[in-house]
């Protein structure tokens, strides 16, 4: 259906979701992105992108625990699929190999 191409924001969110290790849901991802990059990402956009990544097969989701702060509503927790993990690896490798050409000594 949808192509497997990853946009910049999609890649960032996929990466963050993977980094959050089983605690990746909307608010947590917003906070994490804010912490690491200083970027303010729209919460509405995050949800849309997460669903899109799931439709593309990079993420899978389940419903997690409810808390009082959430008014008793459950979180949807996202974890990367194998394809997601592979895409992240691939992206990492591509970048590193390119980067190495600039500074060969870094390896």
């Amino acid at each position: 259906m949808k192509g497997t191409f990853l946009g910049e924001l999609e890649e960032l969110i996929l990466l963050t979701a993977a980094a959050l290790n089983d605690d990746a849901y909307g608010v947590a991802i917003v906070a994490e992105i804010k912490n690491t990059t200083g970027r303010e990402v729209n919460i509405g956009a995050i949800h849309t992108v997460l669903r899109r990544l799931e439709a593309k097969g990079f993420l899978k989701s389940r419903l997690g625990g409810a808390t009082t702060e959430r008014g008793g509503r459950r979180k949807r927790i996202y974890t990367p699929t194998h394809a997601g993990q592979a895409t992240l690896d691939q992206a990492y490798e591509m970048r590193t190999s390119l980067y190495k050409r600039i500074r060969p000594s870094m390896s």
């Binding site: 608010v27 509405g44 949800h47």
Partner: protein, 882 residues
Amino acid sequence: MKKHPPNWPGSFLRWFCNPDFLEEIEGDLHEIFHEKTSAKSLQFARRTFILDVLKFFRWSNFRKPKIMKYSINNGLWKHNLKITFRVFKKNILFTGINISGLVLGVCAFTILLLYYLQENSYDELFPDHDRIFRIGVNLVDDGQYTESAKAAIPFRSVLKDAIPLGAEFTRMLPWPGYVQSEVDNKFKETQFVFADENFFRLFPLNVVSGSIDKPLDAPMQIVITKKKATQYFGTKNPVGETLTFEDEYASFEFSVIAVVEDFPKNTHFNVDFIASFSSLTQVVPWHNNWFYPNAFLYAKLNSADQAEDAKKVAQDILSKNGHQRYLDGNPTLVFQSLKSIHLSSDRQGEWKSNNTQINMKFFLALGAFILLIAIINYVNLTTANSQNRSREIGIKKAMGSEKGQLIRQFFIESLVIVGVAILLSVVVMALLWNSLISQLLDGVVAYNILVSYEALLIVVFGAIALSVIAGTYPTLATIRFNPIDVLKNNLSKYLSNGNQRKVLVTVQFSISMCLILFTILLLRQYNYLQNKNIGFNKDYQVALKMIDRNDKQNYKTLKEELIKLPFIEKVAVSNTVVGMSEGFYGFPVNFPDHPDKIATEWYTLGVDEDYLDTYDIKLVDGRNFSESIVTDERLAFLINEAAANFLNWEGEAVGKNLELTVYTGAADNRKGKIIGVVEDFHFQSLYESVKPLIIYINKHFYYTDFLNIKLKPDNSVLDQIKAIDEVYSQFNPNKPMELVFVDEEIKRTYQRELASSKIMTTFTILSILIAALGVFGLATYTHQRRAKEIGVRKVMGASPRHITAVLTKEYFYIILISCLISWPLVYFFSNRWLANFAYSISFGPFNYVLGLIMVIVVALGSSLYQILKSLKVNPVDHLRDE
């Protein structure tokens, strides 16, 4: 204090959000809210909450309608469409016939519908059109009963002072003349009027420049239309400029105060120049009288239902204040609502020749019938094809298809066909628009009706309605198969004997037959009117208009100059041209020798001694006017046969006394004798029988309006006209020549017949074409279905003639029944229509037979191909069963 987010954004979110995503979104929002309340203030948190909810208001989060949600249904739609296109591809011939038939039908119907809408939209652009009335008068004027569209000029001031209804009145006096701007261009303008100061309050138009807000009351002011502004002033702003207006008597200068948009075509009058009424004190100083000229008079009432009361009051005021001689003519007022004028009014002095309601209804019915023929094609071909689909239906039913699903599938098929047909017809109409349609319908159909928003809605709903109408029967006929019968190949009880198809084809043929017969009728009557011997020579006749007073007074000089030209046989002066419907004034007539007092309409024609020779009008008794007899000029009269018959003086009219009063400023009472009787000639249209006519000699400039010129038959008419123009321009260098071709003038009288017969012919051909397509399709189907039967017949030794008879037999029954249906209808309506004409063809049985032959030719012609195919094919091909 309990900290909670505001309620309404949450409700809003729950309303629009897809329930599948709702829980996690709401959870996240609450969590953010909670965090913000502890980090910042409650107010801040609430504001953020509202903003965040708005951030979720996006397409991907919306609830989706069921149809998009369940992919299984999506699949079914796709499946249906796929099947539809496969069926179309498999039966490309039937599909082609169906679509092209529908395209023709839809085009015909739409064009005629547009024409109908257009003709019904007259004067609607004036905001108060429903309460504006035109006041016309029925009265006896100069001894002749007239139903005039206009009213006497002083009537308005009488009404204005007296009427208690709070109505507004405005007059409009057409006064053709020559208009010239400072630049050297001068044209004759017929759409020049003088109008009262409140004209634009009744008939507002958009202003291009200047202003019409102030009343148009100062003398010598004028408002012109955009078209004329460009013509006379180019790109210059005309406001404040001067226009020269010149009529028969003098010339005047007007100053332009405003430019308005052009009058659209769908108004019952069109004007280009609107001058203030007060200018008339200079232009036509004698205008304010009860007899001539008359002006259009409009009344804007407070509401439409006051018309009756207003009429009574006005009639009352008229009888109290009218001029005595005017009241002697027994004037009766007629109030016509603005909208009714175009489709019903046919009074003396109308701006435009109007249409009739019955005409419009006829054309609308014509369109509907053509569409009906196309729908019948569709129904017939689709039901005929339904047996080919039986197996598909059977299997679908066996697999658990519900009735509703099957119905939906077939409706999708008809919707697709109708949709394609409608799209194609829009394309076809757009392509043909300029070249064909606008000419056919007199160039009046407003294109913008087509491109409006409503038109789009009509197209969409029309497509749905049409596919329901056309699709219902075939759908029900197709889905009734019992799956068990189908799968056991036991179809015989579903095979229709085609009765319903025969009925529908009969309807088609009846309609076609009616249309063919009506077309024959119209064409023959029109031809008859064109070619009937009208009693005078209309070919190679031109009439030169005497434009100004100088022309009229000195016509003799011009006549002498013209007669010197080698190609001119004869020149005669007259006060009107035969074939024009006006100018045969009803002057008072008296017959001292006749025992009874004669009260009837008399028509008169003022001419000189050469008139009869110019038009080759024959004398049946007595002598022609003669220049050598001096008394002829005032005291001799010719009458026509109709007059002699009317007076019961057949053969003895010559020598009887006759008194005629000609109004030339003063009353010229002529007591003379009848010197001759001329053969009846049609000085009016053939709608009327020849009326009693008195011909007298007139040389007074009041009535020397035309020089009638008889040309020698010659091919170089253009050179002749050029030569006449040269002579005329020496005689009157100020005005361009105005020449009337007598035969053209006569033709114009029958314009409506010409237009109708053009429309009729075109659309009848269309309907025949559609019906022929249908017959062709059915013949193809029959050929397929009866191939085996024909094969057996051939093997048993049937001759080609026999097979042809077998294949065409049913058409003969169908045609026979359509004759029984259509002929009485045509007989009834043709007689009623022909009764409109004083002279008409007799529509005899020959015409019906001609129509019948045409229908037979169409039916046989369109099935011929299939019959030949049946005859040629080798029976083995169809009988071999593998």
